[in-house]
Symmetry: C2
Subunit: 272 residues, 2 copies
């Protein structure tokens, strides 16, 4: 999916919600476990209940990889089930030397047909650029993550007072464009969003950490939104595990509606 189409979807759905399909077989309602592919059935019902309220789905690949071949099958079926006008993110945090990153890019873009993959930047340019060679596909580079360990290295200052995540933004933005790169910035780091927007005013940001991790969508929009919206706010556990019972899809829809309603207002307030 290209940027124009993504922006069109945001404007038409009045939403910049991304739903994280972090589907853990140990957490899904027990009545699904009798079915042949419980993980896919769970995802299917979540998608059916929320697809008019979100613009992106983001399966975290670890949850599928941990189930071996069955997990990869559930993932592929899930991806095939997602409507084509919804942006898809393989939250895989991959990255390797050039010829190997190209293998990962082919795995997610060609074999599975994801729109985007998240990438860890530690190995630098040749770990990211192979993902930029596919038309209408995106590399989403980790900048400032929402987890506790995100503070271990990402905010280390260099001799000029520049923090590592700022160096990552400044260097990596030269590898691609705002039409094939996005950045991960945790919702728990909103105090940095204004600074980040000075470095990358136009890029889309993927913002996890709303809900279970404590971030809130108003603050993210206040400091992160640009004229194309420019943010995808992800919620995973807060939506998909809103209920652990037979009404899980219904409750997932209710939580998604709450967020979408806030997003509609925020988009309007920003003239979008």
């Amino acid at each position: 999916m290209n940027r124009e189409e993504l922006v069109r979807q945001i404007k038409s759905k009045r939403s910049f919600l991304c739903i994280g399909l972090d589907t853990d077989i140990k957490k899904i309602p027990s009545h699904l476990l009798e079915l042949e592919d419980p993980v896919f059935e769970f995802n299917k019902q979540i998608i059916d209940a929320t697809k008019d309220l979100c613009v992106a789905y983001k399966p975290n690949i670890a949850f599928y990889e941990s189930m071996g071949v069955n997990g990869w099958n559930s993932l592929q079926k899930t991806l095939d089930y997602i409507p084509k006008d919804i942006f898809t993110i393989a939250d895989a945090k991959r990255g390797d030397i050039g010829n190997t990153s190209n293998m990962y890019a082919r795995a997610f873009f060609e074999n599975m047909n994801f729109d985007s993959v998240t990438i860890a930047p530690y190995m630098g340019s040749d770990s990211v650029t192979p993902f930029l060679e596919f038309e209408d596909k995106w590399a989403i580079v980790l900048a400032l993550t929402s987890n506790k360990g995100g503070l271990d290295f990402q905010k280390t200052e260099d001799k000029n007072g520049k923090q590592l995540f700022e160096q990552v933004l400044e260097t990596s933005k030269q590898w691609g464009t705002e039409k094939n790169m996005m950045y991960v910035v945790g919702a728990t780091r909103v105090e940095q969003l204004a600074e980040i927007r000075k470095i990358i005013p136009n890029h889309f940001l993927l913002v996890p950490g709303v809900g279970a991790q404590g971030g809130n969508v108003q603050d993210v929009a206040k400091y992160g939104m640009n004229e194309d919206c420019g943010i995808l706010v992800n919620s995973s556990r807060g939506i998909i595990y809103a209920s652990s019972d037979i009404d899980f899809a219904e409750k997932a829809r209710e939580e998604s509606e709450k967020l979408q309603h806030k997003m509609d207002i925020l988009l309007s307030e920003n003239g979008i």
Copy 2:
């Protein structure tokens, strides 16, 4: 596998060779393509030809992941075929927030029974520590990688002149011990090995970049070896693609023998 057993294997085989099973279906000899699982057949013959000369095998997961479910099956069969007294490394460069890294750890340690996984440190402590909770399993953290992009961020100096990879070593060594953590240091960065040994004198280092990428084993041993040997030198393309013809396994053995012979001398010179 625990550290004592690994050291015992090194001393007994007179080798610290790790062979990278970066098996690309586009590069393997054409006569294998008629078989049901060409990737596994290739690996099987490489293993048969080299298992007395090396102490570790390291499949790079991207090569298998890019083949979808078939690739994961080939990988599992390969892993099951590797003799149990040889150390296995899932070169996956994973890493995510804590509960998600735990999923990756289960995937590689429990489902597939690898001895170790390579980890990208950008997301900090909780991306690494879940891998340290499994008995006799190892986290191998990227420190200074052999690729061109390795210079983009890893050598950035902080206010005290400390480079990022040094910060990664100093901080992360506190998360585990020399019995469950190793570090990746590229053979193309030998000039840094003496400095690295000041920070982590006892840890094992996984050293890729010998052969196709230009590093050499004597320099690695000179600056990196400690009293337990403390290095695993990896060669991938230089061994497994030494011939692209029907004699590929024989040629792989010849290349492995050349390296093992050098390693035997280096071990003796260091009193091991």
